[in-house]
Symmetry: C2
Subunit: 200 residues, 2 copies
DNA sequence: TACTTGTCGAGACGAACAGTCTCGATAACG
DNA sequence: CGTTATCGAGACTGTTCGTCTCGACAAGTA
């Protein structure tokens, strides 16, 4: 409570190289074989790192995996701006499906979602990640609404859920791949769906 | 290869009561607390059963859970026949969302899907279960197609994925509940989507 | 240059759990 | 009554998570 202003930071600093190695190795090990037993000991050994270095910075094994996933699955998906909802959705869903459809990324996503059902820390990180991705897509829809392309009372969340729902459902069950054609068809269907409420 | 026709079955028979107790207890334990550690030992003890009795009939812990889930989530969802696609979808999705939205059922579904990512047996059972549920919904759509309500070349699988995608996505992330209103809105959107391809 | 402080890699350790194995008892058949 | 397969019970092994301890090392401070 009293002024802790003295000594803002002393001692050795966090090793950024170790952090990178841990996150990279976690992903790489998942990709080696699909039924690979990715354990903390394996990650630590492969990253040339002590176990305590992992548990000093992450609260659980799932938290490591979730951070690696969020990095890999969230970056480099640009926010589109084609001028039309249909075009924006096509571009966004194609990029998103391509990323998620990559074998390694899909594997990471699958195991991250599984971990999120068991590990409380991972669960919260998954919530944050999913929320962030949803916000981006909802933003695309909101812009279209502001342009007057869709009804003011359209259920944007339900549309978002359909897009990401198809993605996760296919990744988790593996009953069908995520192709460009699927992304385009879904983009068309969802933009039509959003516009339909305009014509009662 | 030679005639094994002698002695088609001797010895004590499988105890059906034990089977029921195991499946019921597995579900019940999952529901007790959400972060409950449901273990094989716990199931065996609560069901008044030896561990070997479980492993004699199921190949893994995940297989037990998946069978319990398939029983609970697949039964008593009637195939609707209202005469219109919109009506059929509304009835089917409302019943399905109600079932999956029940707290206990949702918990079982969540952990089953998680188990399916780690356990090969559970994975195959999940595939079979998901395939069966998809077949039912695809059948509803196919009937509408035969009635001429939707285009012959409509992508039925994508529509099915949108419906079950929303369901699983919400259950696994927990970012929103599965309400009757969601089911009805989705039914309307998907029936419109299927019909839209008719009017180019 | 010494001193303090926090991180480093390494690995021992305990607890929890999945799955196997063995045991004597018991039920369904001939 | 003899054969056979399942039953409940629990000991046992192997794996993994997460904690704890150790001496070494780096980044500031005096």
């Amino acid at each position: 409570m009293t002024g802790d202003t003295r000594r803002p930071h002393t001692g050795r600093r966090r090793n950024e190289a170790a952090r990178r190695a841990i996150l990279d190795v976690a992903v790489e090990l998942l990709g080696r074989t699909d039924d690979a037993p990715v354990t903390i000991d394996t990650i630590a050994a492969a990253a040339g790192v002590g176990k305590q270095t992992i548990y000093r910075w992450w609260p659980s094994k799932g938290a490591v995996l979730l951070e690696a996933m969020a990095e890999r699955a969230g970056h480099d998906i640009p926010v589109p701006d084609t001028g039309t909802l249909r075009g924006d959705l096509d571009e966004f869903l194609t990029a998103t499906f391509r990323r998620a459809g990559m074998r390694l990324t899909a594997t990471v996503l699958r195991h991250s979602m599984a971990e999120a059902q068991r590990d409380q820390h991972a669960r919260e990180q998954m919530r944050a990640f999913v929320g962030a991705r949803r916000d981006v897509l909802r933003g695309v829809l909101a812009r279209a609404r502001d342009r007057g392309e869709i009804a003011p009372d359209a259920d944007l969340d339900l549309i978002v859920d359909q897009a990401y729902g198809v993605l996760w459902y296919r990744i988790l069950t593996g009953h069908a791949p995520l192709g460009d054609a699927d992304a385009s068809r879904l983009a068309r269907a969802l933009s039509d769906q959003a516009a339909a409420t305009l014509t009662p």
